[in-house]
Amino acid sequence: MATVAERSRITEYLESNVDLALFAVILFAVAGATVFVMSVTIGDWEFWVDWKDRRFWPLLPVAALLVFPAGLAAAFWSRFRLPIGCTGVVLLYTIMRWFSVYLNFHLFAGYPMSFVWPSIFIPLAILIDCSLLITRSVFLTGLSGAFLWGLLVYPVNWPLLAAFHEPINYNGEMLTTADLLGYEYIRTGLPEYIRLVERSVLRTFGDAVTPLTAVFAGFVCTLVFYVSWAFGSILNRQTWITKA
C-alpha cells in the first residue's frame, strides 16, 4: 500500500510525463497514416529496388512523403515551438517501413531483403526541422529545408543504391543488379513493364537526368511543404475543438 507521499510522487511523475505519451500517440498515428498513404499511392517506388530509378523515384515518393510530416511540423511549431514534427514522423515511418517490408515482403512473401529495402528519408527531415529552427520562418524553411528535402534524396540513398546499378552481363544482355533481382525473384502480378521508371525519351537532357530531377523535386517539395503546412495550420486550429 503506497503512502500519501509516494502517491503524490507518482502523481507528480505522471503529470510531468503524460505529454510524452501524448506525443508518442500523435507521432504513431501520423506515422501510421503516412505508411498507409504511401503504401496505397507510391509504395512500389519506395521499396522495390528495381523501381528506384533516376526520374520518378527521386520525385514522387519524396513529394508524397512530405505531406504528413510538414502538416505535423506546422502543428508542433505553431503550438509548442518544437522543430521535431518532420523528424519524428519520418523516423517512425522508417521504422514502421522496416517492420512492414520485413514481415510482409520478406518473411511472408519470401523476397530477399536486398530486393525490398526501404529508402532513407531521415536526414532530409532533419534538414527541414533544423532549417525551421534556425530561420524561424516558414517561407525560408520552404525555400531551404524543403528544397533540400527534394534535392538530396538521391545522394542520401546513393551509398545503398549504387551497388545495385552495377552492370551485369546476363544471358547476353546488360542488366543492373536491381533489374536482375526483379527478373529472378518472381512477381506474377507485377511484370517488368508495369514499373513506372525512366525510359529513353527525346526530351532527355544528355545524361543529366538525376540533377534535373533533383532540382525539379526540390521545387515540387517546396510547394508541397507550403501547401501541407497551410493544411496543418488550418487543421490545428482550436476552433475545431468545442468545449462540452
Binding site: D19, P112, D129, P159, I168, Y193, R199
Partner: protein, 409 residues
C-alpha cells in the same frame, strides 16, 4: 486467444503451404477462350531438390479472335511465371529463342514457342504455370503442374558476377551497407528527437508560453535559445557532411553504374502466320447446359495428303481428347484434361475431301472451370484450337471460333 493468434501467425509465416490457384477461373469464360491458346506445354521434372532446375516449355498461339475491348498483346506483354511467390528464381526465359528478360509485343493470330527455366529456392509443393502479362489487360495463365521441392532453404544461394568481376549473392546483396546506413540515420534522427524530448514536462508549458506570447501580440520564438540554434547548426552541418561523404563513398564503391533497363525486346515482325492444310468453318455452336455438352457443326476441308481425324479440342486451357484417336491422361489432379471428353461424328476427312463433322466436347470441367458462366458474359463468341491427326502421323492445328447458342432445356 493470444496463443491461437500466435499459432496462426506462425503457421502463415513459417510453414510452407501449397501455392493454390491463381484466380484464372474468376476471369470471364469467353475472354479465357479467346486470348492465349497455350499448347504442348511441358513442365518438369515434378520433383526437384533446392537449387535444381525446372523447365517449362511449350507454344502459345495468340487468338485471332481477341476481344477488341481487351487491350491487345500488340502493345506490351511479359512472359512470366506463377509459382505462388518467389519459391523459384527465374534463370532464363525466351520467346522464339529470343531472351525475354524484358517485355515485348506479340501479334494476334501468330504462334510462338517459349521456354522458361526456374531454379528451386524454397521447399514445398507449388503449382507452376507459365503466364503472360498483357499491359492494361491482366495476367493470362497457362496450364499448370505441381512441382515438389525438397531440401532446405538454407542450402540455396544465388550468386552472380558483375561485369567488373565482383561476385554477389542476390539473397543477401549489400544488406550490411543498407542496414548500417539506416542505423546511422536512425541514431542521428533519434538524437535530434532526444535533444528536445529530454526537457520534461514538454508540451503543456511550451503551449502555455506560446499562447501567452501570442496573446500579448508577440510570438513564441523566445522559447528558442541560442543553445538550440547552435545544436541545430551542428545537426545541419553533420547531416550535410555525412550526405556528401556517403555519396562519395557510394561513387567510389561502384564507380561505373547504369540506369535501370527498360528497353523492349523485339520479336521479328516478319514472322509468318501459322499455315494449315485443313480449313475449318464453324457452322453452328451450341452448349446444352443440363448435359454440359458443347457441340460444334464444322465444315472441314482437307487440303493435305493424309486422312485427318479430330483428336483434340482445346479451349481455356482445357483439353478435350478424342479417345478414338489418341490417349492422353492427366499428369496430376489439376491437369485440365478430359481424357474421353471429345466425341466426333462423321470423323475421318480424306485428302481433298470437304465434309461436315459434328464435334461434342462433354465433361464436368465445363462446370468446374466455370466456363458454363459464358451465358452470363456480355458476348458469347467462343474460340479454341482444334487438333487434327493424320494417318501418316502428321498434326494440323486450326483455331476455330463462332457464336455460341446455349440450350437451356
Amino acid at each position: 486467444m493470444l496463443i491461437r493468434a500466435a499459432a496462426l501467425l506462425f503457421l502463415l509465416v513459417f510453414v510452407p503451404l501449397e501455392g493454390l490457384a491463381h484466380g484464372e477461373r474468376a476471369m470471364q469464360a469467353t475472354t479465357r477462350m479467346r486470348t492465349i491458346n497455350w499448347y504442348d506445354v511441358k513442365i518438369g521434372p515434378p520433383t526437384v531438390a533446392i537449387g535444381e532446375v525446372v523447365k517449362i516449355k511449350g507454344r502459345l498461339r495468340v487468338s485471332s479472335y481477341w476481344p477488341e475491348q481487351i487491350p491487345s498483346v500488340e502493345d506490351r506483354v511479359f512472359l512470366n511465371v506463377s509459382t505462388g511467390g518467389p519459391n523459384f528464381v527465374r534463370v532464363s526465359s525466351n520467346i522464339d529463342g529470343i531472351s525475354a528478360v524484358q517485355s515485348t509485343s506479340l501479334e494476334q493470330g501468330k504462334d510462338y514457342s517459349f521456354a522458361i527455366e526456374l531454379k528451386a529456392r524454397k521447399p514445398g509443393r507449388f503449382h507452376v504455370h507459365p503466364v503472360l502479362n498483357v499491359k492494361d489487360a491482366g495476367t493470362l495463365a497457362g496450364p499448370g503442374r505441381w512441382v515438389e521441392v525438397s531440401g532446405s532453404f538454407d542450402d540455396f544461394e544465388n550468386k552472380v558476377e558483375t561485369m567488373f568481376g565482383r561476385e554477389v549473392d542476390l539473397e543477401r546483396f549489400n544488406l550490411g551497407t543498407i542496414a548500417a546506413w539506416h542505423l546511422i540515420w536512425i541514431v542521428i534522427g533519434g538524437a535530434w528527437l532526444f535533444y528536445w524530448l529530454r526537457q520534461r514536462p514538454l508540451l503543456v508549458p511550451r503551449l502555455r508560453a506560446v499562447t501567452e506570447a501570442e496573446n500579448k501580440g508577440g510570438d513564441g520564438d523566445d522559447l528558442i535559445t541560442d543553445g538550440d540554434v547552435k545544436v541545430a547548426v551542428g545537426f545541419i552541418t553533420v547531416t550535410l557532411l555525412i550526405i556528401v561523404a556517403g555519396f562519395m563513398w557510394g561513387e567510389r564503391a561502384a564507380p561505373v553504374t547504369i540506369p535501370l533497363r527498360t528497353s523492349k525486346i523485339s520479336i521479328p515482325a516478319d514472322k509468318p502466320y501459322p499455315v494449315s492444310k485443313v480449313n475449318v468453318q464453324v457452322e453452328k455452336a451450341t452448349y446444352r447446359i443440363p448435359g454440359r455438352s458443347f457441340r460444334m457443326e464444322l465444315l472441314v476441308m482437307n487440303n493435305g495428303p493424309a486422312t485427318l481425324y479430330v483428336g483434340e479440342f482445346m479451349t481455356a486451357n482445357i483439353r478435350f481428347i478424342n479417345p478414338a484417336v489418341r490417349t492422353v491422361t492427366p499428369l496430376d489432379e489439376h491437369d485440365l484434361i478430359a481424357s474421353a471428353g471429345l466425341r466426333v461424328v462423321n470423323d475421318g476427312i480424306a485428302p481433298g475431301e470437304t465434309k461436315s463433322v459434328e464435334v461434342f466436347a462433354e465433361d464436368a470441367l465445363w462446370e468446374t472451370q466455370r466456363l458454363t458462366r459464358m451465358i452470363n458474359d456480355p458476348d458469347s463468341v467462343i474460340a479454341g484450337l482444334l487438333f487434327f491427326y493424320g494417318d501418316d502421323g502428321s498434326r494440323e492445328i486450326v483455331e476455330v471460333a463462332g457464336s455460341l447458342i446455349p440450350v437451356f432445356e
